[in-house]
C-alpha cells in the first residue's frame, strides 16, 4: 500500500508535533509548514522522524500555493491536510473591545481564518484530483479550532471572530467536499494544551503544569485526528470537540 502523505500547516511543540510523530509512526510521510521552521522541536521532528519542514506564511496566497506545489514535488500529493494555526498575535491577547488594536484584530483574522481558507482551497484542489482509495475516499482535511469557536469569551473578540469564521468555512467545505469523497472535520480543542516538557511533565506556557490530566495531551489529540482520517465514509464525523475530563463547559 502506498504511503499516505500528510501536510500539517502551522508547526510548534503541541498538536502539530504530536500529529507529525503519530502520522509517521503510522506509515505516513509528513510535511510540516511553519512561518519559522527553525525551532528546536521541528528540527527534532526532522531528525528523528524524517519530517520535511517548509517555510510558509499561510496568510499569503502565493506562499500557500507554493507550499502545496513544493510538497507535491518533494513527497507527492497529500491525502491528509491539517490546518493547525491559532493565529493570535501577542498584542491581541486579553484585550477588551475598546482597547483592541484594529490592525492586530485584522492580523488575527488573517492568520487564523484567511489562512484556513487558503489552505482549504489548495487542499481541495489537490485532494479532488486524488484517485479514490478502496473506500472511495480522496482525502481528509482537518481544522484545529478552539473554545472560541463555540463561545465568545470576554476580551477575546478578534479570536472569537476568527474561530467562528473557521467553523463556518469548515461547515461549508464539508457540505461541498464530503460528497466528493473528501472528509472535512472541525476539531475545537476546548482546553489548555499541556505538551511534554524536557523534564517529562506536561505544561502550558500560561496555565502552568498539567495536574492529573487537567490539560489536553496533544499526543492523545493526535489519536483522534488519525481516527478521523481512518473513518469509513459511511460514517464520518464533522465536528469533534475535545476537552479534559475535569474541564467545565
Amino acid at each position: 500500500m502506498p504511503q499516505d502523505i500528510a501536510i500539517i500547516v502551522g508547526g510548534g511543540p503541541g498538536i502539530s508535533a504530536s500529529c507529525a510523530r503519530l502520522f509517521t509512526q503510522s506509515g505516513m510521510r509528513v510535511a510540516v509548514a511553519a512561518r519559522t521552521p527553525d525551532k528546536p522541536v521541528l528540527r527534532d521532528l526532522q531528525a528523528a522522524h524524517g519530517v520535511r519542514l517548509y517555510t510558509c506564511d499561510a496568510a499569503e496566497p502565493a506562499a500557500v500555493e507554493r507550499l502545496f506545489q513544493d510538497v507535491v514535488r518533494d513527497l507527492g500529493a497529500p491525502r491528509l491536510v491539517v490546518h493547525n494555526i491559532d493565529g493570535r498575535v501577542p498584542g491581541i491577547f486579553r484585550k477588551g473591545l475598546a482597547e483592541a488594536d484594529p490592525e492586530l484584530a485584522l492580523a488575527t483574522l488573517r492568520n487564523a481564518a484567511f489562512s484556513a481558507f487558503l489552505v482549504g482551497q489548495q487542499a481541495a484542489r489537490l485532494l479532488c484530483a486524488n484517485e479514490p482509495d478502496a473506500n472511495g475516499v480522496r482525502g481528509t482535511i482537518i481544522f484545529t479550532n478552539a473554545s472560541a469557536a463555540l463561545k465568545g469569551f470576554p476580551g477575546s473578540g478578534a479570536f472569537a471572530m476568527a474561530c467562528h469564521a473557521k467553523s463556518g468555512l469548515a461547515q461549508s467545505m464539508a457540505r461541498e467536499l464530503m460528497p466528493q469523497g473528501i472528509h472535512v472535520a472541525n476539531v475545537p480543542i476546548d482546553a489548555a494544551i499541556g505538551w511534554r516538557q524536557e523534564d517529562g511533565s506536561r505544561a502550558h506556557r500560561l496555565a502552568g503544569t498539567s495536574v492529573d490530566d487537567n490539560m489536553a495531551d496533544p499526543d492523545r489529540i493526535a489519536e483522534t485526528y488519525l481516527q478521523l482520517h481512518r473513518q469509513h465514509r459511511s460514517t464520518w464525523a464533522f465536528e469533534v470537540v475535545l476537552r479534559p475530563w475535569v474541564e467545565r463547559w
Binding site: 472511495g136 457540505r175 460528497p179 480543542i189 490530566d213 495531551d217 483522534t224
Partner: protein
C-alpha cells in the same frame, strides 16, 4: 461473580443494527457483551451466538425499558452475576415516524420520552454510583438528528432526543470529573439496520433503499463502521474526551442544511 470476571459492556437496545454490532465489537476488545432488547428472543440469541462464534463472550436478556424497576434490576443482576459494568451503550430508539401534532397521541409522546430520556436517567442512576466507586466508566449514548433539530412531524421524537442530549450534558457536568465519560453520539442519517429502519420501511422498501443508497454506495451508515467510532470514544484518554460527536454518510446532507 468470579474474581476473573471480564468487564462488562452493557447494551440497552441491542438489535441487529448499531446496538448488537457495537456489543460484538466490544466483545472483540475483551468485554463481556451483555445485550438487552425488548422483544425477539430468537433475534437476541442470534446476536449472542454470533459473538460467541467470533470467540467473544456474550449474554442476552429481554428487557422492557419502560417497565418500572426493569433497568435497575438488570444492572444489579449483571453486576452481581456477570461483572463490573465499565461501558454502557444506551441505544434505544424512539422514532415513530412523522406525525402531525394532531396525530401525535399523548400516549405516544409519553412513551417516546420514557424511551428517549427517562430510560437513560434510570440507567444512569443505576450505573453511575458503581462506576464512580471504581473511578471509571464510559456511557455511550446513541442519538439522532432530532436531538439537535426539530424537523416537521417529529414532536415526540425531537422532544425525547433533545432531552436525551441535555441529560448527557448534565451527566457530564456531574460525573466527568469523577472519571465517567458520557458521549452523546448524533447519528445524523439513515442506518443500514434491519431491526429499525428495515422494520419501519418494510422489507421491500428497505431493500430498494439499500440498492439505491446503501451497499457499495456507502450512503447508508454501516453499523460495523459506526462501532469503530464507539470503540475510539471508549478508548479516548481522559485528558482529551469528546462529549458529543456527529456522524453521517459522506454523501448525506447534515442536519444544519435541512
Amino acid at each position: 461473580m468470579s474474581s476473573q470476571a471480564l468487564p462488562v459492556c452493557l447494551v440497552v437496545g441491542a438489535g441487529a443494527g448499531i446496538g448488537g454490532t457495537v456489543g460484538g465489537r466490544f466483545a472483540r476488545e475483551g468485554y463481556h457483551a451483555v445485550l438487552c432488547r425488548r422483544t425477539d428472543l430468537d433475534g437476541l440469541n442470534r446476536l449472542v451466538d454470533a459473538i460467541k462464534s467470533d470467540g467473544g463472550v456474550a449474554t442476552g436478556f429481554l428487557l422492557d425499558a419502560v417497565a418500572p424497576g426493569s433497568i435497575e434490576d438488570r444492572v444489579a443482576a449483571v453486576e452481581a452475576e456477570i461483572g463490573p459494568i465499565e461501558i454502557v451503550v444506551y441505544n434505544l430508539g424512539a422514532q415513530i415516524g412523522d406525525r402531525s401534532l394532531r396525530d401525535t397521541s399523548a400516549k405516544a409522546f409519553e412513551t417516546g420520552w420514557r424511551l428517549g430520556t427517562f430510560g437513560l436517567f434510570r440507567l444512569a442512576q443505576a450505573v453511575c454510583p458503581r462506576m464512580e466507586a471504581r473511578g471509571k466508566g464510559t456511557i455511550l449514548v446513541t442519538s439522532s438528528t432530532a436531538s439537535v433539530r426539530g424537523n416537521g412531524g417529529q414532536h415526540s421524537h425531537a422532544a425525547a432526543m433533545g432531552g436525551r442530549r441535555m441529560l448527557c450534558q448534565t451527566l457530564n457536568a456531574e460525573f466527568a470529573p469523577k472519571g465517567i465519560h458520557v458521549a452523546h453520539i448524533v447519528i445524523d442519517g439513515a442506518v443500514d439496520a434491519p431491526d429499525t429502519l428495515g422494520k419501519m420501511l418494510g422489507p421491500e422498501k428497505f431493500e430498494q433503499l439499500r440498492e439505491a443508497r446503501g451497499k457499495e454506495h456507502d450512503g447508508l451508515m454501516l453499523p460495523a463502521q459506526i462501532a469503530e467510532t464507539y470503540v475510539h470514544l471508549a478508548k479516548q484518554h481522559r485528558s482529551t474526551w469528546t462529549h458529543e460527536i456527529d456522524l453521517r454518510a459522506f454523501s448525506d446532507r447534515p442536519w444544519w442544511n435541512h
